[in-house]
């Protein structure tokens, strides 16, 4: 694999779900509008890199991860794993892919088979992928996830483990087949704060010391800095802001990212944080047409927001899809506005309003 080939590349990925139609609609042959769960998501992930996908429930982050691992067929767009489009995979390729790409689930309490001991849980993975030296690998991986002395844990059933220990077993189960990519769906959200730090540390070690790449999904911006190099903020199926973790956390540009950050409680009795003024909740991504999907809740809404904003590069490492920041676009082509009011592909219009002093 050449060094400039990303481990995972996603190009314009779309996943639409058909709505469950009622019987009346079915009789009348009325088509219902699809749910645009993931709509035009692109990113690349290199080796040893971790990408955080942030958003509220319903933003499409779980659909994204499920599509990435092959549970759903994408509606359109490409997923390239080590340069190969997964849609061209045959059965053997999929088996290989399912060894190299592993998942860690949100709820450690339900992610393990209650009837399998720790040893059996890990052994199952090795059997499926036909890997030898099972006993040694099981012991090694348990050491790695700090379940030691190993002999104390091997024969325990999930009910004999605490939440944090269960999550360690889930991580061990993913690690034991030596994956290249781990997809982690809110792996600490169900854990107590006392164990959360240890799991974050473990995930961060996997990336730094074991050469694993990670897509990390979370709704909680306060913990992503411990695991993710890059962030991508999603709103109703679209990426609204992306960039290096530090940049996004320190200089959020999209009004939605700002709202998400400002709503996080601060553990300080003297901090004077203003409560969020953001009205309502995200709607459903059904029949929402053109325009910025955040506009109905956006404190900075302009007329222009009825047109879909392009993703503007604020720097090489920071992109935002918001008209407030369109002046940063170096193409700056004002002729992009066609008579129908649509924005031509790849071009942008100037918002005519300063974005920086927000």
């Amino acid at each position: 694999m050449t060094s400039d080939m990303p481990l995972l590349q996603v190009k314009n990925l779309e996943k639409y779900y058909d709505q469950q139609a009622g019987i009346v609609d079915w009789i009348l042959r009325k088509d219902s509008d699809p749910v645009q769960a993931v709509d035009g998501v692109s990113f690349r992930l290199d080796e040893n890199e971790s990408l955080g996908v942030i958003g509220e429930s319903g933003c499409g982050k779980t659909t994204l991860i499920e599509t990435l691992i092959g549970l759903h067929e994408p509606t359109s767009g490409e997923i390239l794993f080590k340069g190969t489009d997964v849609s061209t995979f045959d059965k053997g390729d999929w088996k290989q892919f399912r060894r190299e790409v592993q998942m860690i689930f949100q709820d450690p309490f339900n992610a393990l088979d209650p009837k399998l001991s720790v040893r059996e849980t890990l052994e199952e993975q090795l059997k499926i992928h036909d890997i030898d030296e099972r006993d040694r690998r099981i012991r090694d991986v348990l050491e790695q996830v700090e379940l030691s002395p190993v002999d104390n844990y091997l024969d325990r059933l999930p009910k004999q483990l605490s939440g944090g220990q269960k999550q360690r077993v889930s991580i061990a189960r993913a690690l034991i087949v030596e994956p290249e990519l781990i997809l982690a769906d809110e792996p600490v959200s169900m854990l107590d704060v006392s164990t959360q730090a240890a799991i974050l540390q473990l995930l961060s070690d996997l990336i730094d010391d074991f050469g694993v790449s990670m897509v990390y999904i979370s709704h909680d911006l306060s913990t992503v800095s411990y695991v993710c190099h890059q962030l991508q903020v999603m709103y109703l199926g679209r990426v609204v802001e992306s960039g290096a973790t530090e940049v996004v956390l320190n200089e959020p540009k999209h009004p939605y990212t700002r709202a998400l950050l400002s709503a996080i409680p601060i553990p300080d009795s003297e901090a004077e944080r203003e409560r969020t003024e953001l009205p309502g909740t995200p709607g459903d991504p059904i029949n929402i047409g053109n325009g910025c999907r955040f506009r109905d809740r956006c404190p900075d809404r302009m007329e222009l927001c009825d047109k879909t904003p392009e993703s503007y590069a604020l720097s090489t490492d920071h992109h935002v899809a918001c008209h407030l920041h369109s002046e940063h676009d170096d193409q700056g082509d004002l002729n992009a506005v066609s008579s129908s009011g649509d924005v031509a592909n790849g071009q942008s219009i100037s918002a005519g309003e300063g974005g920086d002093e927000l």
Binding site: E56, D192, S194, A197, A198, S222, S225, P267, L278, T281
Partner: protein, 351 residues
């Protein structure tokens, strides 16, 4: 906020009958909530905070019972009242409850207004018309269009259902609302909106709130006073500014160090090893002993009494034999903690 205690809990012990024996969920807990006060109870899962509030509501599971101590509401002992007395005099009109996951606690088959009228019929003298007018006012307080009281629960989003529950809790003008993790299932923006309404209730309506949560940040931001619970014991109780700035109990200190702060995304987070014990029989030691870096043999020999944190302060109590040493070290910044419990490895992401 006045200093009269609205709710007093004294030496409360709550046990559950189990196959292995009596399981102690709350042990010798004491604290008080004043009128108009916003009081937080913080602790991780298994610390006894839900049992504590269920015992106040007299709604423990059938195998649970208050085995010692008293719960006084407006000076009257309420722990032994009958169901009938509780329903007639206390529940909803004096003490209202916002349960955990309460988005799902509305009856899906009834209009929300119907549920409010039923509540008023059972617990107050309001007639239907009065009840509806009043319920509309409550909707206004929680920021929902009053015309929507006649909606069914499914017509509301998750956050609106949560606010409707808060409106129901407020409805009969209770003096105390007990909220158990009212925002756990909600996203951070919705959580903030809900807490804004709860702030308003404390400010405008003057109701006391007892907020049970695992989120120390929420309590530090909003509450006046707080209790920290661990393994059924009250570790520390006092004003939030004191517990934030001058924690005396090791658990309060470690909990703060473990909590992420968005303002310092690279700060090391500490890990508190282990979990609260499952206590069969009387609790006769400090339940934090196996997780505490400061623990000594003394801590295993008897439960630490809840005492004044400092002799000259009557509003801050802590139950720790080593509180003075812990405090001194925290102040000097020296660290006398022992391995292996202390494990705040580098979690910083340098790249």
């Amino acid at each position: 906020m006045s200093d009269d205690p609205l709710l007093e809990v004294e030496n409360l012990t709550v046990q559950y009958k189990t196959k292995e024996g009596m399981l102690t969920a709350v042990s010798d807990a004491s604290f008080a909530v004043s009128e108009g006060e916003y009081f937080g109870v913080v602790g991780e899962s298994g610390c006894g905070k839900s049992t504590l509030l269920l015992s106040i509501l007299n709604a423990l599971d059938s195998n649970g019972q208050v085995t010692n101590g008293v719960i006084r509401y407006k000076g009257e002992e309420i722990q032994d009242l009958s169901e009938q007395e509780l329903n007639q005099r206390i529940r909803w009109k004096e003490i209202a409850y916002i349960p955990q996951g309460s988005m799902n606690s509305l009856d899906p088959l009834e209009r929300i207004s119907t549920q409010a009228v039923q509540l008023a019929g059972l617990h107050s003298d309001l007639n239907e018309e009065e009840a509806l007018t009043k319920f509309e006012e409550m909707f206004e307080i929680v920021g929902i269009d009053p015309e929507r009281i006649h909606d069914y629960p499914h017509q509301f989003s998750g956050g609106m259902k949560q606010r409707a529950i808060i409106a129901l809790a407020l409805f009969l003008e209770p003096s105390l609302i007990i909220a158990d993790e009212p925002t756990t299932a909600l996203d951070v923006i919705m959580q903030d909106q809900i807490f804004k309404h709860i702030d308003d209730i404390v400010d405008r309506v003057g109701t006391s709130i007892m907020l049970i949560t695992h989120d120390i940040a929420v309590v530090f931001e909003s509450c006046d006073r707080m209790a920290v619970m661990h393994g059924g014991q009250i570790a520390e109780v006092g004003p939030v500014t004191r517990i934030d700035n001058e924690p005396h109990h090791p658990y309060s200190t470690l909990l703060q160090e473990a909590f992420p702060d968005i303002r310092e995304p690279n700060r090391d987070l500490s890990v508190i090893e282990g979990k609260p014990p499952r206590q069969i029989g009387e609790t006769d030691y400090c339940t934090f002993v196996d997780r505490c870096p400061w623990a000594t043999e003394e801590c295993r020999e008897a439960p630490p009494p809840l005492e004044r944190a400092e002799a000259d302060r009557s509003d801050h109590f802590v139950s720790c034999f080593r509180k003075d040493d812990v405090r001194e070290e925290n102040e000097q910044g020296t660290d006398d903690r022992k391995a292996p419990n202390q494990k705040s490895g580098s979690l910083a992401n340098d790249e």
